[in-house]
C-alpha cells in the first residue's frame, strides 16, 4: 500500500506491506533506529513514539495507519532542525533532565520513556512524584529501578517551567 506521512517534520511517502509494523517501518524503511523493539507485544513500551503528539506503541500499529499523519520519534525530540544532526546542545529539556538525574543506564528503554514523558508534561506541567510514577508505568526498565527516571521527569518539569510557558505552549501539535 502507498502511504504518505510526516516523520519528525519530514515528508515520507512510498509503498509498504500492509502487515508492516510501525516499529519496523520506522527502523528499516525510514532508517530511524532510535525506536527500540523490546517485546513486540505491547507491554514494555520501548517502542513508544508520538502520533500527532500523542504516545502510541509502534509495535501495536501498522505503518499503513500513519498515512496522512505526523510521527515523532526520539530523533525528533531535540531542537535540531528537521534532518539536521542532533548535538548535546540541542537536547530537549526532558532529555537533559534524564541525563542530569542519571535516569538511564543501558538506554534501551529510554527513547520510549522520553516520548511518553514529553507528552505527559505537556498535559501536566507540575506533576507529583506519584503522578509521574503512574505516567511512566507503561514502560519497563530493568536497570534503574525507576527511581532516577521519576526524578528525571520531575527535573524535566522544573526545566520546562524555567524555560517559560512560551517555549512550551506554542507547540502547535
Amino acid at each position: 500500500m502507498r502511504i504518505a506521512a510526516r516523520v519528525n517534520g519530514l515528508a515520507w511517502s512510498g509503498e509498504v506491506e500492509p502487515r508492516l509494523l510501525l516499529s519496523d517501518f520506522l527502523r528499516s524503511e525510514v532508517g530511524l533506529t532510535g525506536t527500540h523493539v523490546g517485546c513486540e507485544h505491547g507491554v514494555c513500551g520501548a517502542c513508544t513514539v508520538q502520533l500527532d503528539g500523542e504516545p502510541v506503541r509502534a509495535c501495536l500499529m501498522f505503518a499503513v495507519q500513519v498515512d496522512g499523519r505526523e510521527v515523532t520519534t526520539v530523533e525528533g525530540l531535540a531542537e535540531a532542525q528537521p534532518g539536521e544532526a542532533i548535538t548535546v546542545e540541542d537536547l530537549h529539556p526532558v532529555q537533559r533532565a534524564l541525563h542530569e538525574a542519571h535516569g538511564l543506564q543501558c538506554g534501551f528503554c529510554t527513547p520510549g520513556i522520553l516520548m511518553t514523558a514529553e507528552a505527559f508534561l505537556r498535559d501536566n506541567p507540575t506533576p507529583s512524584r506519584e503522578e509521574i510514577r503512574e505516567a511512566v508505568s507503561g514502560h519497563l526498565c530493568r536497570c534503574t529501578g525507576y527511581h532516577n527516571i521519576v526524578e528525571g521527569v520531575a527535573r524535566a518539569a522544573e526545566l520546562l517551567a524555567a524555560d517559560g510557558p512560551a517555549a512550551h505552549d506554542d507547540d502547535d501539535r
Partner: protein, 788 residues
Amino acid sequence: MATAEKYVGGGVPRKEDPKLLTGQGQFLEGLTLPGMLHAALVRSPHGSARINSVDVSAAAAAEGVVAALSGADLADEWAAGLPMAWPVTDDIRIPDHWPVAQDVVRYVGDAVAVVVATSRNAALDAAELVEVDYEVLEAVVDVEAALADGAPRVHESFDDNKSYTWALTNGDVDAAFAKADVVVAERYTQPRLIPNAMEPRAVVAQSVPSTGDFTVWSTTQIPHVAKVLFALTLGIPEGQIRVIAPPDVGGGFGSKLNVYAEEALCIALARRLGKPVKWVAGRSEGYLATIHGRDQVQEIEIAATSDGKILGYRVHILAAMGAYLQLVAPGVPLLGAFLYCGCYGGEAYHFECTGVFTNTTPTDAYRGAGRPEATYAIERVIDALAREVGVDAAEIRRRNFLPAGDMVQSPGGLAFDSADYEPALDRALELLDYDGFRSDQAERRAGGGRRQTGVGFSSYVEICGLAPSQVLASLKYGAGGWDAATVRMLPTGKAEVVTGSSPHGQGHVTSWSQIAADALGIPYEDVTVLHGDTHVAPHGMNTYGSRSLAVAGVAVHNACGRVVDKARGLAAHLLEVAPEDLEYEAGTFSVKGVPDRTKSMPELAFAAWTAHSLPEDSEPGLEASCVYDPPNFTFPFGTHVAVVEVDTETGAVDLVRYIAVDDCGPVINPVIVDGQVHGGVAQGIAAALYEEATYAEDGTLETASMVNYLVPSAAEFPSFETDRTVTPSTSNPMGVKGIGEAGTIGSAPAVINAIVDALSHLGVTDVPMPASPERVWRAIRAAQGGEE
C-alpha cells in the same frame, strides 16, 4: 602515585548518555550488512520428545528462503557441543548440548531446525512450514520430582537426573548441633526467574570465505571469552575470529554471560552460506531460549544458644540446571556455597548442593548468581531464630556479626577482605527511626485495623570480583580471574583507555574516564574508552559477577600508574634532573624547589611520540598495560530495610519504604553507584513480590510473555532511600568493591521478612516468594487455622 581527585568520587554526568537520549545508540539490532540474511529457528513445543523426522522441504521452497536445515543437516558443523566451563566435581554428568537438537528435544524452546531467508519476516513465515514429527515423552519440570524414583529421565544416557553433588564442611557440625540450646530448621523455595534484559539477544555473523576470517557481533557480556569458545565449538582457528559486543548492549544481568546456540548457529550458517547471517530474538522466544535464574529448593538448619548466638549451620539445596548445562550453571550454587552463614560467626558449617536436570530452559547466572539464594536463606532463618529465642530482629544480627577487621575468617571458609557490619545496621536503623516504627506498629496492632505494617531486615555480605585465578582453579572454574587494561597517551595530549571489561549499561566509559583523568591529570573529556571489540581490546575476562571495577577498573588505575612512571623518566630526561627530584601532581611534573621548571603530561605525550630525545633504554610512545589478578575476592556488605503495609483481608502488600545502606568501599561515581543499587534492589523486590516463571507438567512455559511474567513498573515501587558506609577492601590498591549485584542480593529477604513481621501477631511465620496477594492471604488463613 599522587593524584588530585578531581573526578573520582564525583557524580560526573555520564558520557554514555547523549547518544542514548537522542536515538543514536549503537545497538545490534540496528546493524545491517550488504547481502545479509536472516535466521529464524523452529523450536520444540514439547518438554520432552523424540524427533522422528524433520521435513524442511516446504520451508526451503518458500519465497525468499536460502536454506532450511535440521539438526542432523548441521551435525557436521560442530567441532564440539555448546561449552560448559564450570565442571564443579570430577564426576559431574555433562550431557551433549548441540546448538540444534539431533534426536531428542529436552525443553520447550530446544531448537530443531533453522530457516535462513532474505528478510526476518520471510524466515519466520517459512519456519512455520517446517514439519517435525515428534514422539512425545513424559517430561519432568520440578527438581524434587526429577529426583524421585522412577522419574522420567531428561537424559537417557544417565541413570537419573542428578548432574552433581558438591559439598563443603568446616569444623565439627554434629558437635555444634549437639551442644545447641535451639535448632531452627526452615525450608525455602527460590522461584525460577527470567532475567529480562530490555534488549533482546541478537547476533550477526559474517565470514570472509576466501580467508576463513569471521566477525561476530553479539549482544554479549563476554566477547573475549566467547571468542575462545566459538573457536572451540566451531573448529575455527581462534586468531581468525573477531568478536564485537556492540558499543551499546541493552542490559544483561547474566543473561548475556553465555555462549548460546544462536551464536554458534549464525557463525556456522555464515560459514556455510558465505553471507552475513543475523538472528534477533523475539521477547517470548527469548523467554524460552535465554537462560533463566534461581529455581532452587533450600533446607537450612542453624544451631544456636538460648540467647541467639549461632553455633553451626547445615544447608542442603537442590538446584535446577534445566535441560542442559549452560556456560557456568553448575557453579552458580557454589557462588552462594560460602555465604549461607552471611556476615555471622559460628563454629561449624556444612553445605551440600545437588544439581538437577529438568525439562526446562537451562538456568545459569542471573544477577547475584548464588548469593541472592544464600542471603535469602540465612536472612530468613535468622529471623526465625530471633522469634524462637525472643530476641529483636536487629539485635539478633548484631549479636552474631563477625568482628570488624581485615581478612576476617567466616565459618563458610572464606576470609572477608574488610568487615565492619554494625555501622551499616546502625545507619539503617537511624534512617528508619526504628523505635518510632515499632511504636507505630504497636499502635496499629492495638487498633486491629485491616492494614498492618511490618519491617524486615537483611544484613548481607556478598562475594564479587571472582579471583584470584588459583582459587578459581580449586573450584574447577574454567577461566581466570584477571582483567586487562592499556592506557595510551595520544600525541595530542588526549588519552585512550582500552579495557577488557564489556559494559552493557553500567557506565564503564564514564567511570574509567574518571579514574584515568585523575591519574593522568588531564580533563575527563580528553579520555576515550575503547571496549568490546577483540581486535581493539585483545585481552579481557569481561563483565559479570560485579567484577568490572574491582578487577578491570583496578587494571586501568595500575596502567595509569605505569604511564606516569614512564612519563617521569622522560620528564627527568628533558628537564635534566634525576627522576626522584621531580614532584608529580595533577598531570604535571615539577622540579622540587624549582616549581616553574615543569613538564605536563600532554607535553610529554608529544615528546614521547616524536621520540626526538628519549632517555636511554626508553622506547617511543607513552603507554602501559596491566593485567590485574587480584589476591582475593571483594566482599561488599550492608543492611537493607523494607517497610510494608499488608491488607490482611486481601493479602495485598504495599512496599512503603526501602532503605539500603551499602558498603562498596570508596566510590568512583556516587550517582552511578546509587543507580546500581536502585536497579539491583528493584530486581530483588520484583523476585520477592511479583516474578516467577512457571511450567506446566508437560514442560510448557506458562509465563511465556510479559503479559504473565510480571516485570514490575514504576507504579509498583517507592522511591529508594540509599546511604553508604565506606570500608576499603584489602583486595586491591583502590580499596574498591563491586556494587552491581548487592541490591538484588540484599533486597528479597528484607521484603519477605517485613511481610512476616507485619503478620507475626496473626501467627504467620512464612510467605513464599513471590508473595502475591493470594499467597499472603493463604498464609494468614493457614496461620489462623483455616484452610490454606
